[in-house]
Symmetry: D2
């Protein structure tokens, strides 16, 4: 256990760079840490690293490199060896802003990852310095005031193969999954901590590879999710799924589409998994038909739409 | 009953105009509706009139004119006659921004009031237009994102005399009051609606007249009060009383001092009074010693500080 | 204005008396104030009268008498005269538990009402006495711990006729309504106070008369609505509509069906209407197609189901 | 890392067994899993084990055995070896209800611990079976409806010695601590997960050993902490510290004294520590004088009172 510490930062492409940037800064309430060419490095007030989202103006949407921080230099070495043994390694890269040497690899579905250990802690400028020394940045309360990147849900043509890679090779713990009547796997929820999920794979309904389902950003309370819905409504952001509670993982959600077309979630809650021998919860096709926790039916687009669009 | 509709708008003086304005716009999240000389007209997203707070750069702090809207033109006439009969009238004035003819008077303690009926409804510009047609303005979520002016607490050398004037002459309902062991009145909570309070008098500990205790701005949830405390903490706003629940009226509160020295509250909750024959709750000196609802002791400054300062 | 104080108490029939009673006591958290034959008198901790719901074991479901308290004895006389003039009066009755003389009448759709002024305030026994003297009853926190009856939504074959009666004859204020493309009225939201609604008429999709859409019970926070959904889910109560926010009136809701078949709502929030000249908001057919505030589509049964069932 | 999974269950003594039991069942909302002689085994709806609190009727108050679950059988062996090497081991015991072999030891201050790996998962009876399969027990909503045991704060004559034992020998991570001007340590906050704290040592103001400061029980939202305060107020439970936010660890709290004299907390929130190399936050004497996060001064008894009382 504990070969990996947590997921992130993550890169996201957008064909509408200015509008997407305005969304993440003005509506989601993130701060700009740096800009380099087409890329803007963004952070939530609770991210301990310098940035958690790298927004890249591009001709398409979807996810770029997804970072994973190893637990230690030794764990990094062990995981790199395992990835190489799995035949999915691509070699060392120089890292990125505030990040040390990073090992590049792809999951079986082709998503790009970088595993690293070294990184800089955020040192806020005066106007973003918080009052309490155990908080990374100032809580300005702008827009949705998201705290940090929480989890990433990616699509895969073969969920099981990718899930097995993440568990066996990266060291993720598997907490919940969906198994359809035909025995195939429709989704897998994995975590490197007691948090209910951090890395999620769900089936790509188009059978495509390398696509993104959504990036999820954390707020501390359900009230902030409800508040985010009001902000999105008035700002004209497309709400795909209004706030409610997931059955799987029990997270509270708000889903919408940012101007570049990528799905974004504001999330909180979710169960904590304290048992070291927690059995994986397996949801059946019939159970999933009941909808979300309180019976809300999942909108169709949630099962079919990903970025870049098909 | 129902001779008066509600309290507000209100004027507030500040010896630090720029800092106070920044506080109400950036921290409290109000919008600037207009500016005239030293005065800035401000509004919350839920105020149905064009403005609820007129911030006036001055050489002192404290409250200026406190508006009260009559229920109807006929009610306005009746109340003016009653005020004149009470010998406290000062005559008609031209009103203010978006407000028709206003009758000026003073309460027995000398605070300045204007009673009016005619006023303009807020018609938002495009960038502040809300998605729902039953909401006055857009919810941008900036800072504390206060919704509207809620109530005003003024100090008086003789609480009982002022309370009797408000009930007998203006038509307020008296819901709760404090009676000390010596028979004197230390506070009175009045309302023109089912809301627990709108106009509050508490005893001026210095024996001075015409002073302000605090202006209270509404948010819809207790979570927003807690969130406001985080915003104030990081913005360096002086928190006088951290969020908790009042015993009297049951309102949830956060108190602080704005840069000009005036006490400001972010408030929500409070009981609704549906009974037309609701008996006035009388709190004794001994009961008040128990502190707030959950036992929090009221800070000493709350009993002694008002603006302008003594 | 202010001829009537508020709506309630209300009678509800249930063909499954024991299960319905268990629902209101164990799940909704109400207290039993009295029992008489097939009727149980129930109250929320925040109801100032002795009871707000009279649950009557019967062979059917639906609403019985709906009480309305007049603002004063004089207002009661005036309203009785107006009802008689409208030809809908049925005469004086002896009242009910803790209630004085009541004037019986029917709305144009045939629902039974009683208008009264005299009533007893609740005087709690020791084990239900609250700590604060401005609260009617003890907050035990059992189940959903609803505070009080909030509003009633009844169905009518002709919404407009009933709405006009309530406004013109009873003195209700009309805050919002739905007008379809054919000019007919599909719903009307009325109140006797600043609260957004108290008495609602919506169109009976079956064209029947005298039916109930739902009774709504108040909790003070949205978090309590979310919590109620968790309680209902685990208790096996049918959730018809998961918690979300209405566009009309802006109330936060949770809808379900109690064991007797009647629809029940746990509600909070909703806008306050402070303007005495507030224009009625008229929603069009097209606007209603957008669903609730955050885009949730209303479930079909919400438009068609009422009690007693067709 | 990850030699230990989590803290608990815990034993608590009470000289008023019946009243304490009523408190934990009726007010805190726990379920009785079993009873054996003077001991009652209690659980929250979210505890995955059969019980998290063993309440023992006794002639005194305070804490009995505090359990810690090892991450694996191998980790258990390694930690036992380390404890024995530290000279604090007492040998193997048979475990307790639903718990396998447990290794007994004492911390340097003399508190009794048991380290174990094997334990039974809770299998609810039908009337406590939840609707969702990833939840251990039914959410009945009774009283404060606490979810699970969260953390334990014990007193020690020498905080540093005990903290060093927990970090060096047991494998806890140290997230925050207080260092006074004289260089002594007044408190240490440790965790086995990303949660901000699980095991806390603070200085025993009386210089005594083996005493308890408080047991903390988790609820998922701040609103539930506020609600718990209302329940405690009306139930006559002594509120020692009304709901507010800690500066250290950022947890939201409500503190009170259960009928047996032990301090109990209802808690939620608190920061998550995702960085594997998170530096320990060291609070100075001066910083602690600022009070809690929003400036609330800590009540004096919080610094001096523990159980059993001196």
């Amino acid at each position: 256990m504990s070969e990996i510490a947590h997921l992130g930062p993550v890169e996201m492409f957008t064909p509408r760079g200015d509008e997407s940037l305005a969304f993440f800064v003005d509506i989601m309430g993130m701060e700009i840490e740096a800009q380099k060419g087409p890329a803007t490095y963004l952070r939530g007030w609770g991210d301990y690293q310098r940035w958690s989202l790298k927004l890249i103006a591009s001709d398409t949407s979807g996810m770029g490199v997804l970072g994973i921080r190893a637990w230690s230099p030794a764990a990094l070495e062990r995981r790199v060896a395992a990835i190489e043994a799995a035949g999915l390694g691509e070699g060392w890269a120089g890292g990125d802003l505030g990040r040390g040497p990073s090992y590049r690899f792809r999951d079986p579905d082709g998503h790009r990852f970088e595993l690293y250990y070294e990184c800089e802690r955020y040192d806020p400028p005066d106007h973003l310095r918080p009052a309490l020394k155990n908080v990374p940045g100032r809580y300005t309360g702008r827009g949705c005031a998201i705290k940090r990147l929480d989890h990433v849900n990616i699509l895969a043509a073969d969920v099981r193969a990718n899930r097995e890679f993440c568990v066996d090779t990266l060291g993720y713990r598997l907490y919940e999954r969906i198994e359809l009547n035909d025995g195939s796997e429709a989704g897998a929820w994995m975590s490197a901590s007691i948090a209910a999920h951090e890395l999620i794979y769900t089936r790509d309904a188009r059978g495509l590879t390398g696509r993104l389902h959504h990036l999820a950003f954390w707020v501390d309370t359900r009230e902030e999710c409800l508040r985010a819905a009001d902000i999105w409504l008035d700002a004209g952001i497309e709400i795909e799924a209004a706030p409610s509670k997931h059955a799987i993982a029990q997270g509270f959600f708000l889903y919408g589409i940012e101007p570049g077309g990528n799905r974004v979630e504001v999330t909180t809650g979710g169960r904590f998994v304290y048992a070291p021998d927690e059995p994986c919860v397996v949801w059946t096709e019939e159970e999933r038909k009941k909808g979300q926790a309180w019976g809300v039916k999942t909108v169709e687009s949630f099962h079919t739409y990903g970025t870049p669009p098909a």
